[in-house]
């Protein structure tokens, strides 16, 4: 597989981690209570740990002294390849949990397959990440059930979040050119093949949570091609502030 294309394939995986981790990091000190605050920032740290491995690999492909920080912090909005789902804001706790759950189920199925990648580095990252991602899925799934099958108010808020976020899930299973090439070279994962298991697992938890998947929504996409929602620019200005203000700063 051509190196530049592999680089883009890696970003398509890694940027999801970075942007979702950044969203969770925004909650640090603002969680609904101490325990949940720590749990969510733990998940953010897991995602950042994984993303460092991906970006180190990406920087190595770039060569010319590029570092993981360059890859993480110094790209323009259109160069980020994360799906739209993960950049959606922390509107309320239902959205935080909904976004996490809809991503975690996908992330687990994806990582499970990435373990079998021909690319040894990607396979090794996936093998290391699988237990973390498995716990994320358990955590967010439990909260979906708790809120959905909770009080009238929590049920309504959780359903509102699912209605708002479900239209961003289709994009997870649509393959761009790099993903197709990676699949042909047995480096990448067959995304459409994950959809059946995804629908089944999400459906099962939502049913237990007395929640419904919205019918016939309009599905949004574009993140994988760098076309993001209006939230992304604000997120990046927070994320990149330090590196832009103090170039090459590290600690």
């Amino acid at each position: 597989m051509e190196q530049q294309h592999l680089y883009n394939y890696i970003l398509g995986i890694a940027d999801n981690n970075l942007i979702l981790g950044q969203r969770l990091g925004e909650l640090c000190g603002h969680g609904p209570n101490l325990e949940t605050d720590i749990a969510l920032t733990n998940i953010a740290l897991d995602l950042f740990g994984q993303v460092r491995s991906y970006y180190q690999y990406a920087a190595q492909i770039l060569g010319e002294g590029a570092t993981e920080d360059d890859v993480a912090f110094l790209r323009k909005e259109r160069e980020y390849r994360n799906v739209l789902l993960v950049e959606q804001p922390n509107t309320h706790f239902g959205y935080v949990i909904g976004r996490q759950f809809l991503f975690d189920v996908f992330h687990y199925l994806f990582i499970e397959q990435l373990q079998h990648s021909n690319d040894e580095t990607l396979s090794a990252i996936a093998k290391k990440a699988i237990k973390e991602v498995s716990y994320h899925k358990r955590f967010s799934g439990d909260w979906i059930k708790r809120l959905g099958d909770g009080t009238k108010e929590s049920q309504a808020k959780m359903q509102e979040a699912i209605d708002a976020l479900w239209p961003y899930t289709q994009e997870l299973f649509e393959m761009n050119a790099f993903e197709k090439e990676a699949l042909e070279n047995q480096v990448g994962v067959n995304l459409p093949e994950l959809k059946e298991a995804y629908d089944e697992q999400v459906g099962q938890v939502l049913q237990e949570a007395t929640l419904k998947i919205p019918e016939n929504p309009y599905f949004h996409k574009g993140g994988k091609e760098g076309i993001h929602t209006e939230h992304m620019g604000y997120l990046l200005s927070d994320l990149q502030y330090m590196q832009r203000t103090y170039p090459n700063m590290n600690w």
């Binding site: 209570n33 101490l34 325990e35 949940t36 358990r138 439990d142």
Partner: protein, 94 residues
């Protein structure tokens, strides 16, 4: 938080073969959440292999005001300790 979740006590076994020890407490709505919270609050730096949680209200504690009658009578009974035996030097960890 408007309505407080109940308090739980957390016991962690740090290695197989050792006993569970009290690590601290946390708030959670039920036992399952208490386990997950304990995992996140107390074992994220590789501290444990097993967790017990018990709702704090189920623990019955002795009253400090009763310490006199509870514990002092034991102080004058040195013969209850096996300290009158001469141990050979080879015996360790007694």
């Amino acid at each position: 938080m408007r309505k407080e979740w109940p308090l739980w006590e957390v016991f962690v076994r740090s290695k197989n073969g050792l006993e569970h020890r009290h690590f601290g407490s946390l708030h959670a709505a039920d036992a399952e959440m208490a386990l997950e919270n304990a995992r996140d609050v107390y074992t994220r730096r590789n501290e444990g292999v097993s967790i017990w949680v018990v709702e704090s209200k189920h623990i019955t504690a002795s009253n400090p005001a009763d310490n006199g009658e509870m514990f002092e009578p034991a102080q004058s009974k040195v013969y209850r300790h096996p300290t009158f035996y001469n141990l050979p030097d080879e015996v360790k960890h007694m």
